[in-house]
């Protein structure tokens, strides 16, 4: 379906490389190579940043250390707000990894001129504009909140399915499927849509006109990273708390 977008009406103008992938064949698996390349780039970027920040730790932080500490504080406060003062600590790495990876992925897609590098097929873009990436992140979140629930409440975790009333059991079960689904599709859809809009606009009017959309894209990208991390933390909190009463569903974008 997506490849239909490929040749919209401007077949003769240029192609938007949606649905084209740079395939790597590993055994029976076909991997989307361009996603791996950009993911590795993002991971390397984060690793280098962490390394630079922790290379020469000072008591009074400056430069990179200061910046990364600020980022860490931000993530900590995010996790603390969602999970609560008592339980948030062990979840900071997970939530922080989600946020940083998604954020840097999104922004790398929006800011780095990937198109300078030409692949045999497909094109480099944000890793998060591939559904596989976002689904894997969302499934990890599901695993995380199941783990949180079981480790905190043991088999009592299942009580949350029939907690207010057993009538809601089907919905409660359904929720376990909709959570990763909505997480992954929200992120994937936002990023892909943003890149598509920018791509189309660039094809139509190459100069200056796409700029506001690109700026908006940066904003949405940041918000999406925040939303993903926040919702993951909220799900973890909910699994640990039980009483699925208060839902933190704020559907952004």
């Amino acid at each position: 379906m997506l490849s239909d977008l490929n040749y919209l009406t401007f077949t003769h103008l240029a192609s938007l490389e949606v649905g084209h992938h740079f395939y790597w064949q590993v055994g029976n698996l076909k991997l989307h190579g361009q996603v791996f390349l950009t993911s590795w780039f993002v991971i390397a970027l984060l690793l280098v940043a962490s390394f630079l920040a922790t290379k020469n730790i000072q008591r009074i932080p400056s430069g990179m250390q200061n910046f990364m500490e600020y980022v860490l504080e931000f993530i900590q406060s995010l996790a603390k707000n969602q999970i609560g003062e008592k339980e948030y600590r062990p979840w900071v790495p997970f939530v922080g990894t989600l946020f940083l990876f998604i954020f840097v992925s999104n922004w790398s897609g929006a800011l780095i001129p990937w198109k300078l590098i030409q692949l045999p097929e497909g094109e480099l873009a944000a890793p998060t504009n591939d559904i596989n990436t976002t689904v894997s992140l969302a499934l990890l979140t599901s695993l995380a909140y199941f783990y949180a629930g079981f480790s905190k409440r043991g088999l009592g975790y299942f009580r949350k399915y029939i907690e207010p009333t057993p009538v809601l059991l089907p919905i409660a079960i359904l929720e376990d499927f909709t959570k990763p689904l909505s997480l992954s599709f929200r992120l994937f859809g936002n990023i892909l849509a943003d890149e598509l809009v920018v791509g189309v606009l660039v094809l139509l009017v190459p100069l200056f006109v796409p700029l506001p959309i690109m700026a908006l894209g940066l904003f949405t990208s940041a918000i999406q990273a925040l939303v993903f991390a926040t919702l993951a933390a909220a799900y973890i909190h909910e699994a640990m708390e039980g009483h699925g009463g208060e839902e933190h569903h704020e559907e952004h974008g």
């Binding site: 932080p61 300078l116 590098i117």
Partner: protein
């Protein structure tokens, strides 16, 4: 319209080139790679973001510096207080030691004086006792003497009454007279 056509031409050319090459490569087409827009966007973000981020970081650094300064001040105060109290403790210990020594000395003196006093008292008592003993002995002796004397006198008297009858008295008197003038 002419410009638009050039665009189309450029774009199709670039696209066909890319499609033809089919391998890794670099694409320096300014328009197709969106380089200009990205450069502007990155520039703007750097220009705006740099200031904000720098401000935040400077603020943070300043806050940390202040907090560390405060903490260090508190630490210094605490160290000072600790030294102060330690000094006081040492003083108190010295005082305690002094008091203990003094007390020991006092105790010793008291002990000695009490011992001396006791010894003196014992001595006094002994003296008094011996005195008492002496006087008692003397009294008893005197009593005994008197009693003995009395008994002797009694005995003598009784014997006298039995022994000294008229003739004996006569004889005695005679003897005495004889003694007085026996030589004549």
């Amino acid at each position: 319209m002419g410009m638009m056509e050039t665009f189309f031409l450029l774009a199709t050319e670039a696209h066909s080139e890319a499609a033809e090459s089919g391998g890794f490569g670099l694409n320096f087409d300014l328009l197709e790679t969106n380089l200009i827009n990205l450069a502007i966007l990155i520039g703007v973000i750097f220009y705006l973001g740099r200031k904000i981020v720098t401000n935040i970081l400077i603020e943070r650094r300043k806050r940390i510096l202040e907090e560390i300064g405060e903490a260090e001040g508190r630490q210094r105060q605490a160290a000072e207080a600790l030294a102060d109290q330690q000094q006081k403790l040492a003083q108190a210990q010295a005082e305690a030691e002094r008091i203990r020594k003094e007390a020991e000395a006092t105790a010793l003196a008291a002990k000695e004086s009490i011992l001396a006093q006791g010894a003196k008292e014992v001595e006094n008592l002994r003296k008094k006792a011996s005195e008492d003993l002496n006087t008692e002995t003397e009294r008893v002796l005197a009593e005994l003497r008197q009693r003995v004397t009395e008994l002797a006198i009694q005995r003598v008297e009784s014997q006298l009454t039995s022994v000294l009858d008229e003739s004996a008295q006569q004889e005695l008197v005679n003897n005495s007279i004889a003694l007085l003038g026996g030589n004549q």
